[in-house]
Symmetry: C2
Subunit: 285 residues, 2 copies
Amino acid sequence: MTAEGERESPTDRVRAFVPGHVTGFFSVHRHHDPEKAGSRGAGLSLTDGVTVALEPADSIEVVLDGDPVEMESVVRTLDSLGVEARATVKSSVPVSAGFGVSGGAALGTALVANQQFGLAHTETELVGIAHAAEVEAGTGLGDVVAQTHGGVPLRLDPGVPPEGRLDSIPVRPTRIEYVSFGGRSTGKIIGGDIVTLTAAGEHALGALRERPTLTRLLALSRTFAREADLLTSAAETAIDAVDEAGGEAAMAMLGDTVVALGEGLSMAGYDPVVCEVDPAGARLV
Amino acid sequence: MTAEGERESPTDRVRAFVPGHVTGFFSVHRHHDPEKAGSRGAGLSLTDGVTVALEPADSIEVVLDGDPVEMESVVRTLDSLGVEARATVKSSVPVSAGFGVSGGAALGTALVANQQFGLAHTETELVGIAHAAEVEAGTGLGDVVAQTHGGVPLRLDPGVPPEGRLDSIPVRPTRIEYVSFGGRSTGKIIGGDIVTLTAAGEHALGALRERPTLTRLLALSRTFAREADLLTSAAETAIDAVDEAGGEAAMAMLGDTVVALGEGLSMAGYDPVVCEVDPAGARLV
């Protein structure tokens, strides 16, 4: 057995799994310290997500599903940790479609680097590094802390612990369906005018905290998407169809993606991907 | 599908699993508010633990592995939630042997009651109720918050969030072995003179935070057991045997139990129970 906190042998491949995370509603909170910047809101962690492995390299590189990519969140994470490595990221969720792939890749990279290179950081330290990398890359604001927790996270305060307080809605094993109609740029939206969006997100969080249940989270997310003017026509059509079929659906922030509880999308005639709410959060595997 | 936050149908049995939790070292922090009282320290969450189910009853009752028992932590939890029910607790770890059965039963009860009776509390609210019940029952100080997190929790501050800050040591899937030589009373020790114990626990936590790794947690736990004068002769013999066999072991606080990483106890000639570090924490199943 390899002692923790020491370098692993090169043949002993370390990997991390990070759940995909779909935000239902959110508000944006800017701050000059990236560990205190972030979002408040709520969403779902999924058993579909990303896996990350690292191998030592002469420079920092990222390979996503077989292709070299620019993924600034991962580069910044490795940079903060002082590790030069090639990160191999595999995603079972669509990229740029609201599943938190960039945040998940950063968090998975931090967990693997810590183990493989014997860095001896705690979970909170690694989450702080990955969250800051994601915020500075401009690709997300709240996925990393939510993905760390798993389940149905409520982000009560922006940023990472201790400031960034998290709570969650306890749920039974829950089937989730999703369809994705395409990508959209997170950076363009969270870098733009966020006054209306943030007011709608704050209202939704307050309403959810009055009675925190899963169905209410979906309903408040639908209202948020309309109020924040982020609802696409494909998503609207799917959400309405699920509603007519008696199910519960919402749009993933920020992607042209719809998620539904149980068999909501199947009942509405869609051919969705099926997974579950992830019960465990990001972890070495 | 049953909507969350509504009563489940009586035929739809809700259960919770709560990992066993073995404390390696701790310090005691008393407070008149039971949500702020507790312990600091570190330990291991295990894939062996307790499952809890509830059924409506005319009065509060607890059945543990088939036998009616007095378990004040569960009674107080149900009382706080305003639920009259019979709690059926099954434990795959020994009772009163340092595995956090009383705290786990309280936490599992809170999770199941919330779902089954449509109470719509958040995780943090339920943890607060179970932790307070456990503290007031005098049967534990830190298991509930640790069991909520899973993994290898570091209890940085006593009590429940937001005051009770938690961190953790990220680990790969890790085989754990344990043997139990008998029970001992938590209440007698944590209700007694805790000056030496608390000084030793504070020192261990400080030393672990300087370099938070799993092997160091075990080593500091061994030192703590000696310094706090809690080491039993059976535990000492087993720990020494594991050490001689080249493994890492420590005593469970508070029980006459030894846990080892990997195959430590097998290598030393014991016939241990085998499980893993629990990656997920307490959850509905």
